[in-house]
Amino acid sequence: MVRHVIAPVDELPPGTRKFLDIDGRPIAIFNIKGEFFGLLNRCPHQGAALCEGPLIGLAQSSSPGEIEYTKLGEIIRCPWHGWEFDIRTGQSYCDPKRFRARAYPVNVEPGSAVVKGPYVAETIAVSVESDYVVVDL
């Protein structure tokens, strides 16, 4: 597993997502209310750019007509066929046994740790005063 430095935290404020290509893999990093998530930008169904879809909540029901809406902003909906995936785990909700999106752990690390390595910093200049978004691939 290689740790890649994606961006300074300030460049990815809450509600934004960043698309990048790491070793030929299309990856998207999301900041959702201060929490960071990484997902392979490829839908396991038919290969669409999954991470370009809208972020919605999870609709569940224990009784017809009554909807419990949770995980607000944590479900990504594929722009091609509307399938829902949990951004934390990659779990699909229409066919969880057969389909799962690839999720990657993302953390925030202080610059002092990042400069020590072993990190791949891509083209980002790292300074010890800042915090950085780091993804494990």
Binding site: Q60, S63, W83
Partner: protein, 359 residues
């Protein structure tokens, strides 16, 4: 051909009401006078025009009167001929067409009492379906509760084309009553003609109506599944009668595909539609809309992914097959047993218990 085996259950028989006046003894004084003084003679629906080929096999057509109106004919041509243990009577009479819920209720009660007295009382093998005045859910539930005391009634009968989509929650008290009382809900081909018999409007020809029954069944299945009827009533069995079943795989592919994309619209549908069909929906055998080629038919059964979906039916006296070919060619003996005996007995829980409890 595949030979039927003895001891089966014919799940779709149609005893005919000879004439509206046949129901007069089963109406109260008020309705008896209404029918008589208004000069009402019969309730004739376009669904099965008397002289249309579909309405009766030529060799089952009586010299006089309506096909299916004579018990002795039904015994000889269907019950004895196919050596069944039980036959379920699904009267198709135009009571659903009436717009007054009061009149509809009076006619349904009369029809159900007529069935008990003129048919069920006269042959131990016969079982009945409760015809309900669907314009009033309250009256429908009352009629179900009244007639369900007679354990020979094993099913509630509705038409595939009524007033509203059948999944609508206004109808749910009907399904709750059926589930509570151990009755299946049968949905039979036919229209109340309160809406056009196709979703695109009124056609010109009988063939348009008859072929469109299959699409009506599909639309109703979608409604029942996505509205959540089986999430609320997991033990309810619904039987599609005279629906055909060869369309099922392609229809389910489509429903499944779109459910996966807009699951969040109906999150109470927490299983794939195919799984709901397998657990809650059954289909009567006739008509079989497939070429008489065992390989084609067995491929279709593979697609259906279950051997529990089909229930034997002759659709008597409708003309769906000739001779004794009630079963399509190429069925394995195991499947014949399931279709004719096991599946109906599992679907209609009341069949096995009706004998000792019959009043």
């Amino acid at each position: 051909m595949t030979s039927p085996i003895a001891g089966g259950v014919d799940c779709d028989l149609h005893p005919a009401v000879p004439h509206l006046t046949s129901l007069l003894p089963y109406m109260n004084d008020y309705w008896r006078d209404q029918v008589t003084t208004r000069g009402m003679t019969d309730l004739v629906s376009q669904s099965y025009p008397t002289h249309s080929p579909i309405s009766s096999r030529p060799d089952w057509r009586p010299a006089q009167g309506k096909p299916g109106a004579d018990l002795a004919d039904m015994q000889k041509q269907a019950l004895d001929r196919f050596a069944v243990r039980f036959g379920i009577c699904n009267p198709l009479y135009g009571v659903q067409m009436v717009f007054s819920e009061d009149m509809q209720d009076a006619f349904c009660r009369a029809l159900n009492n007529w069935l008990a007295k003129e048919w069920l009382d006269k042959d131990d093998r016969l079982r009945g379906s409760i015809v309900i005045p669907t314009q009033s859910v309250e009256k429908s539930v009352a009629e179900i509760e009244r007639r369900a005391e007679d354990k020979r009634f094993v099913q509630v009968l509705m038409l595939v084309m009524g007033d509203m989509p059948l999944g609508k929650r206004a109808y749910w008290p009907i399904y709750a009553a059926a589930e509570r009382l151990g009755l299946a809900v049968g949905i039979h081909a036919g229209s109340a003609y309160h809406n056009p018999p196709t979703s695109i409007g009124w056609g010109s020809y009988h063939i348009e109506d008859y072929v469109a029954q299959a699409t009506a069944f599909q639309t109703q299945l979608t409604s029942l599944i996505v509205e959540g009827v089986f999430a609320r009533h997991p033990n309810l069995k619904m039987v599609m009668l005279e629906s055909g079943f060869t369309w099922l795989p392609a229809y389910l592919w489509r429903l499944h595909k779109f459910w996966r994309g807009i699951r969040m619209e109906t999150p109470w549908v927490d299983r794939a539609p195919l799984e709901i069909v397998r657990s809650n929906i059954r289909f009567s055998l006739q008509p079989v809309d497939a070429p008489p080629d065992p390989a084609t038919l067995n491929r279709l059964f593979d697609h259906m992914q279950s051997d529990e979906l089909l229930l034997f039916s002759t659709d008597y006296p409708h003309w769906q097959f000739d001779g004794d070919e009630a079963l399509p060619p190429g069925l394995s003996p195991d499947l014949v047993r399931k279709i004719m005996i096991d599946n109906p007995l599992k679907t209609y829980g009341r069949l096995e218990f009706a004998k000792e409890a019959t009043p």
